[in-house]
């Protein structure tokens, strides 16, 4: 066999594999959207769920998902940013940083159900936080932190060292160089990383089942006092999210339209995550353009 035929076979094989991946993805997406989108309505997206009757919505679960996401991001982003800045801008390569990096790597490949069970034992039971948004947010922080740290570290890595030298040569301290030169330049790519990880957090179920709980008590959307139990802002209430809802309906749903609700919820979830991804690309590109050209 000469190298030309060999090359052709290789290319053919690679095309085939790539095509197969795309096909599986499209089939999956298509199935979820085709079976789910017809269930969507304003009522479905906003109404509270019903346990035994048909016609319930996912309003509370949808709200819970976003609230939990925002809380988890508020906790994990500053920590991840600090860790990434330390690891990339300050730390020397020695056994300490190698250990930290290995820990991050292991943490990022931890199954999310393990994170969830750890969260249950530690936050829910030991710290007496109960099944609550806060427990869920902490569990999601554990789940999200390693990936976010790595993605921010990668963003910092894309900024060339000559930029750092430029800052230092102007008499800026390392801290000033990082905050005034490097971070602004890295914002587009950090933002992309944050939004993508938000999509992952948004779709996470296993880590939340035993931390944020599987019930969605009715919320009073006119009560914004975070200390009231029915307030949407109360972080101590149990809060079933959309992803957990899907799992629950499918395993023990007894409402007559369980299948329809599950399909609809899946579609909402997938569409939300797709929107996150597109937003990440769009915002990242736009910001980059604004920073690099007139």
């Amino acid at each position: 066999m000469n190298s030309k035929t060999q090359n052709k076979i290789a290319i053919g094989g690679l095309y085939g594999i790539a095509g197969l991946v795309v096909l599986i993805l499209l089939a999956l997406l298509g199935y979820i959207l085709v079976s789910g989108v017809p269930q969507l309505s304003w009522h479905f997206l906003t109404a509270p769920g019903k346990a035994f009757l048909k016609g319930g919505g996912v309003g509370i679960q949808l709200y819970n998902s976003f609230y939990l996401l925002i809380l988890a991001m508020l906790i994990s982003f500053p920590i991840a940013l600090g860790a990434a800045i330390y690891l990339y801008e300050y730390a020397k390569d020695n056994w300490v940083t190698t250990t930290i990096r290995t820990a991050i790597e292991i943490l990022s490949s931890l199954p999310s159900v393990v994170v969830g069970l750890f969260g249950f034992l530690f936050f829910v039971v030991k710290l007496h936080l109960g099944f609550s948004i806060l427990s869920g947010a902490f569990a999601l922080t554990f789940f999200n932190l390693p990936l976010l740290t790595r993605s921010i570290e990668d963003s910092l890595r894309t900024i060339s060292d000559v930029q750092r030298e430029g800052g230092l040569a102007l008499g800026l301290s390392r801290w000033e160089t990082v905050t005034r030169v490097i971070l602004p330049a890295a914002v587009p790519s950090i933002l992309t990383g944050v939004i993508l990880s938000a999509g992952r957090v948004f779709g996470e179920a296993a880590a939340l089942i035993y931390t944020a709980g599987q019930s969605a008590p009715a919320l009073d959307f006119t009560d914004w006092n975070p200390f009231n139990i029915s307030s949407p802002l109360n972080p101590m209430r149990p809060a079933e999210t959309l992803a957990v809802h899907i799992w629950k309906i499918n395993s023990e749903g007894i409402m007559p339209d369980a299948k329809a609700i599950s399909s609809g919820s899946s579609a909402v979830l997938v569409i939300a995550i797709l929107l996150f991804n597109f937003a990440a690309r769009y915002l990242g590109k736009r910001l980059y353009k604004r920073l690099t050209s007139a």
């Binding site: 000559v162 030298e165 040569a169 008499g171 602004p184 920073l291 690099t292 007139a294």
Partner: protein
Amino acid sequence: MFVNNDVKNAMAMEERHVIKLSDPDHPVILSTEDLHVYYGKKEALFEGDLEFASNQITALIGPSGSGKSTYLRSLNRMNDRIATVTGKIMYRGVDINQPSIDVYEMRRRVGMVFQRPNPFAKSIYDNIAFALRLRGVTGKHKLDEIVETSLKQAALWDQVKDDLNKSALALSGGQAQRLCIARAIAIKPDILLLDEPASALDPVSTGQLEDTLLSLKEHYTIIIVTHNMQQAARISEYTAFFNQGRVLEYDTTSHIFTNPSVQVTSDYVSGNFG
């Protein structure tokens, strides 16, 4: 092998020619004494004692790996985290190579421009103004004035005066490099170190850059590392020739290029090696 190297080193040691400066119009502003630079265990520079005359241009030339950039980067302690630098760097009577020195303050007196133009991802205006703001220079009027003078001194004002709010990343290589010079001189340093500033530029931009440097020496002491011997000959008053981690010859530029005292220098400037 070892014998050979020792012999070579011994010969190189003997054949050195380094002058001391004595020009009352241009007193020595910066000098190094017994400067050694180590990357890890490896010694990259072991013979580099030079004096620099104020408001003059000094060129550092030599083949790749001869230690000239290492030497230059040591002068404002840019090598701090990368290498170990021992010896004295005397700047206006103060040894700036000691731990107690505030390196950030020192680098505002000894500025640097790099090989690759490195404008920040900010507007042209902010590239110059933001470091000033960090040092407490506020007031729009004052900042405007400094930005304008710096850009004029760097011969960039006419080309960018209408685009000050545009991103600096849109500038051409030559313009970007002159912006970096403007940025460096905006904080009013005494000394400007340039590390092959023209090596990424086309001949026209290089010519403009050289004109800029010649006009700048009225206000600044300039030390420039260059691979381009014509460039060294065109713009500098003094030239130091580096080879294998040591300064082999230091004298006026005309001496180095017309009548070098050391054979290796002669070989290098006439293009026989390097």
